[in-house]
Symmetry: none
Subunit: 262 residues, 3 copies
């Protein structure tokens, strides 16, 4: 059984499992790698986008380094996707942790190229930005994308710094609209982040929107809760699981209503 | 197998397991309750003192409520021990989270008495405090208890507000010395808290001191790491597990040196 | 456009912006430094007292080191204020993280003096303490300051270890009353801490008290929410912003009532 865990670790992480007989290590190999990562519904690539924000938030630098390396080295996540993941995480997990995450990405990307004896490819230029610069146009884009992404019929008022300068101008007026990372991946990252931050409304609204938009299926969301439990602990995962249960009911009711003949 | 998890949940929690077929719930019943809580070396009571700080830190109010209820209702933890756990947690996990923990303790203690049709017993009076009031005497007590508890030959300088007014005057000059909670229990709580806070020196020094003092055995510490993984996630637990490995080596070397003939 | 971000970074941080073309870095320069730090209502100094607890809580040691250096090196924050910030943070964010913060302060203070070729000034002695030593007198002081600082007509009962030995005896009986840090600064730190800890009552009561006391204006509180979003992530900031909206309504109603002729 332990052999299965060791093999699973090596597959996911792209390097051998630790030689260590402590209960935490042996049970981690069996449960986290031998069981959770092997489960269906979410692919190994999908699971990277839940794992990465969790380890970036957990401040455990060794695991962060290992998971960034594994995601890039396996080819599951491209460097452009990884860098967009850092930016998305910065917004939902805070810039200081993201700043460390960003350094680890540079360091591991470098390491992979050194190990392979390859040259680092040139960075993708930032400009031109994909969104308008004119403040009024940008706020209008932000309002529309806020509605689309949150599956809501309204956007918050502009005349509040958090909402106007922050949410509409930057988070929805730019960050979510950047190419280079798919919508499913952004949903996985966002739900993981609101689950560890666990402020009451964001967890509710992002679980709702991920399901309502069909970017994540009900089964994918259930798997996300289990994967999250492994990486951020059962208490927060239990809360997430409860929110998921409630939002499924809400979404089903709305879909039933929308499908009803007029 | 699921029956075993459900039964284990009911034993630990003192109420029936949830009827819920999601992966997160079914795997939690099997792994967390059917496996981790049933393991040897740490008793069920010991495991409460790891679980409580983790759920208090996690901000998941449902699980916090459930675990406070279970710890008191099972008789594993007395109300005095529980209240000292809140104060100890306040220091190591932050007062805002402790404030909610404290309210939940009052609320669940009340609930248990209502369910049993019993009167709430009167509160234990705060005064007299067990430690000296004179500032100079108190700092001397704090310096000595800092050395004893941390197994170090020195105490930090007083003339720094964090160290003097905080650490020596309050944390080691009073909090750790309060009766009503045993040293083993304080060690379990502290290691859980430094493991989720994961600042590099505190995790190192508290794991070291818990082992060096023999308040926790090497095997108990290994079990703590696994139990912590379930309640706070594997990335932080991996880091804790690595620190434990290093501190065992250090402690063994010191013991060997101390035992050597002069 | 990026030039503006780079210049803003250098102004705030007192050292040049990183040469790094990743999305997280370029967008951080533009949004966090070029936009958020440049906004009106809160001064650069004020913003330090929101940033410091956020980076100290985030456990990202590079950003913590940089922000402590910048706050001291710019002259915006004195060493006495910085050390009181550490103690205040210890209470609201947890001692393990504060312990690292304290070490970083010592290290950066040293570095600044080495860079300038100056001698370290002697530490300010801890004793005498500014508050009474007699336990009964101290609890009375703690009860009064609890009422004053929380803008409440009552104080919690003493006969509970968290409330008596912790809150009344130490947090309000001593820590909040220490000279060396102004009330506005303590409010900024406290609101940032309750916002990342986000236990429901503390966030509510400290936002309320900061507004009710007029230590922070409504506009300053709104700016705090935006600044906090950048440093701790949008989900918790979004919750803070909602609490602020509700507490403004409550405070306005109370002021209207208090102003009404009898």
């Amino acid at each position: 059984m332990n052999e299965r865990g060791r093999q699973a670790f090596a597959d996911v992480m792209t390097f051998p499992a630790p030689e260590d007989a402590t209960p935490a290590t042996t049970r981690m190999l069996e449960f986290v790698f031998g069981d959770v990562w092997q489960r269906p519904v979410l692919t190994r690539r999908d699971r990277r986008f839940i794992t990465l924000p969790c380890v970036a938030a957990s401040d455990a630098e060794g695991p962060l380094r290992d998971h960034v390396y594994a995601a890039l080295n396996s080819g599951d996540v491209s460097i452009v996707e990884m860098q967009e993941t850092v930016l998305h995480f910065a917004v939902y997990g805070g810039w200081p942790k993201a700043s460390r995450f960003n350094m680890v990405v540079d360091e591991q990307w470098d390491r992979i190229h050194r190990e392979r004896g390859e040259q680092l490819p040139p960075a993708v230029p930032l400009l031109p930005l994909p969104t308008p610069s004119d403040p009024e146009a940008r706020l209008r884009v932000g309002e529309q994308s806020f509605k689309d992404i949150n599956c809501l019929p309204y956007a918050p008022t502009r005349d509040n710094p958090f909402q106007g300068a922050g949410i509409l101008n930057f988070v929805f007026g730019e960050m979510w609209l950047r190419p280079g990372l798919g919508m499913k991946e952004r949903r996985l990252i966002t739900v993981a982040c609101v689950a560890f931050q666990d402020a009451p409304y964001p967890i509710l609204s992002h679980v709702y929107a991920a399901l309502k938009s069909r970017d994540l299926s009900f089964d994918e969301m259930d798997e996300l809760a289990l994967h999250f439990a492994a990486y951020y602990g059962w208490p927060k995962a239990s809360h997430l699981n409860q929110v998921i249960g409630e939002q499924k009911v809400r979404v089903l009711a709305e879909w039933a209503e929308e499908a009803a003949p007029l």
